[in-house]
Symmetry: C2
Subunit: 157 residues, 2 copies
């Protein structure tokens, strides 16, 4: 694999406030309810403190963020990596930062025997789906040949 144009680093505890700021800005941009950057700051702090979760970042202070969980799974010898988000600040989009944030967990997966890498996406988000398809992601389950859905149930709402 060619060297990536954007170097991707793993977040440290000091990155929690800037991750919260990025997430708050993305929520605002996409009209998602957001509790504000201060309330949000506790969440990346918990993410970075937990043993199986982290966030990948580009630049310092970060201009792109991708939280990743790596969990053991009974279907695979290696862990499974789940990308919960992938965001780049608006004025730096279209330059390949998102691609670098995507390639890093894929490269790590090869190195560490991880399989598969997972993402959940809205069916109607065609830009995201095109981006994911370019990076080799599919919604077809290999065993069944069937499409795979992401289900959730909110609690206490």
């Amino acid at each position: 694999m060619a060297a990536d144009p954007f170097s991707v680093r793993t977040a440290g505890p000091g990155d929690a406030p800037v991750i919260a700021r990025l997430l708050h800005d993305f929520n605002t941009e996409f009209a998602t309810p957001t509790p504000g950057a201060e309330v949000l700051a506790a969440r990346p702090a918990r993410l970075l403190a937990a043993p199986l979760t982290t966030a990948l970042l580009v630049r310092h202070p970060a201009v792109g963020v991708a939280p990743v969980t790596r969990r053991p799974n009974v279907r695979y010898d290696g862990p499974v990596a789940l990308l919960d988000e992938l965001h780049v600040v608006p004025h730096l989009r279209g330059r390949g930062i998102g691609g670098s944030l995507m390639r890093r967990p894929l490269a790590d997966a090869v190195e560490e025997g991880v399989s598969p890498v997972e993402i959940n996406v809205d069916e109607g988000d065609t830009d995201a789906r095109r981006f994911h398809a370019r990076h080799g992601f599919t919604d077809i389950e290999p065993d069944s040949g069937d499409r795979a859905l992401y289900l959730h149930r909110e609690i206490g709402d």
Copy 2:
């Protein structure tokens, strides 16, 4: 919530072999490639040893299994619970063991401030989807009103 007819317990390290046997039997039943119960045994052992993952079981030795991961997530104050599988041995199906295995993480979620609980399912698996819908799961994202897909990329195949 009424008391559950089947008491659900959290697996301990000694349960790894029986979980492996259950998973091997399920793979065989559904014609999924399986490396055999001995090779599989290492996987539940890793799952039970890891900090954010465990398995819920019914009876001893177990006749039903549901591996669960609880990860911090930047979209929620509490952790997010992911049910990776939910299986009951064939001769005890239809008695509510699966429902008990499903209600336990939902009850835990209420108690521990977890939201949401997540499941990935094949679109064509109508029995499973009906079961999930009965327990309040949906494939519609509340923010977008859109359907949510589960994407994956296998590595090193």
